[in-house]
């Protein structure tokens, strides 16, 4: 069964450095999302992306964050100047196009996550 993949699985960076987290959503999916989960806390919505543009973003997604779909398969999250509080697990997710049968269209398929540690 197709899966969402994310790389790297772990990333350690120095405060102030830029990081790019990569995701390959399931190939025919239409909506793409980034979430973060600080250790021991809830999954927080960052941004949704549809038809090559941001659909919606949360208040967490400020100017230091950006997303891009540079080609037909990758979906990236860039953090320009990392802060200590950006340390978290970052999840990518996608939803499939409408088809008959199967899981509801609103079902989110999550990747395994990238654990980001900012020192």
């Amino acid at each position: 069964e197709p899966e969402v993949t994310q790389t790297p699985s772990h990333q350690v960076t120095q405060m102030g450095q830029e990081v790019i987290l990569r995701c390959v959503p399931i190939s025919n999916h239409l909506y793409f999302y980034w979430y973060r989960q600080i250790l021991g806390q809830k999954v927080e919505f960052l941004v949704s992306f549809y038809n090559n543009e941001i659909s919606e973003k949360s208040e967490i997604f400020d100017d230091q964050f950006s997303v891009e779909r540079p080609d037909g398969s990758n979906f990236t999250l860039k953090i320009r100047s990392t802060k200590l509080e950006d340390s978290a697990m970052y999840f990518c997710a996608s939803t499939r196009p409408p088809t008959s049968g199967g899981a509801p269209q609103e079902t989110q398929y999550f990747g395994p996550g990238t654990r980001l540690l900012v020192l």
């Binding site: 969402v4 909506y31 999302y33 806390q41 809830k42 999954v43 927080e44 919505f45 949704s48 549809y50 659909s55 919606e56 949360s58 697990m89 999840f91 997710a93 939803t95 899981a103 509801p104 269209q105 609103e106 079902t107 989110q108 398929y109 999550f110 990747g111 395994p112 996550g113 654990r115």
Partner: protein, 111 residues
């Protein structure tokens, strides 16, 4: 602003019993509500979705109810097994643009 509440205390039950988890929401009128399972260090995995015009939805040992008057969803696992031990997240929603998750309830099923 909308608020999603799940019992933050872990639910400890004996194998074979029914686990019931609660999700309450305020300042929100979702068109549907989803339940996900999350294991430590892993991404959430979709379990069930129930729409606002549905009272109950079942899938194998899982049952979800949705009361839009009470603004509450109940999630039941019957004949629970130790393998059901995980954190369960609810996520009310109404479109594809934004999804908010509750903080989750950790379920421990003891053999």
């Amino acid at each position: 602003s909308q608020k999603i509440e799940q019992n933050s205390e872990a639910l400890n039950i004996q194998e074979g019993k029914t686990a019931t988890l609660t999700c309450n929401y305020t300042n929100y009128s979702p068109a549907y509500l989803q339940w996900y399972r999350q294991d430590p260090g892993r991404g959430p995995v979709f379990l069930l979705l129930i729409r606002e015009n549905e009272k109950e939805k079942r899938k194998e040992r899982l049952k979800v109810t949705f009361d839009t008057t009470l603004k509450q969803s109940l999630f039941h696992i019957t004949a629970s097994q130790p393998a059901d031990s995980a954190t369960y997240l609810c996520a009310p929603g109404h479109n594809f643009n934004k999804f908010y998750f509750g903080s989750g309830t950790k379920l421990n099923v003891k053999p």
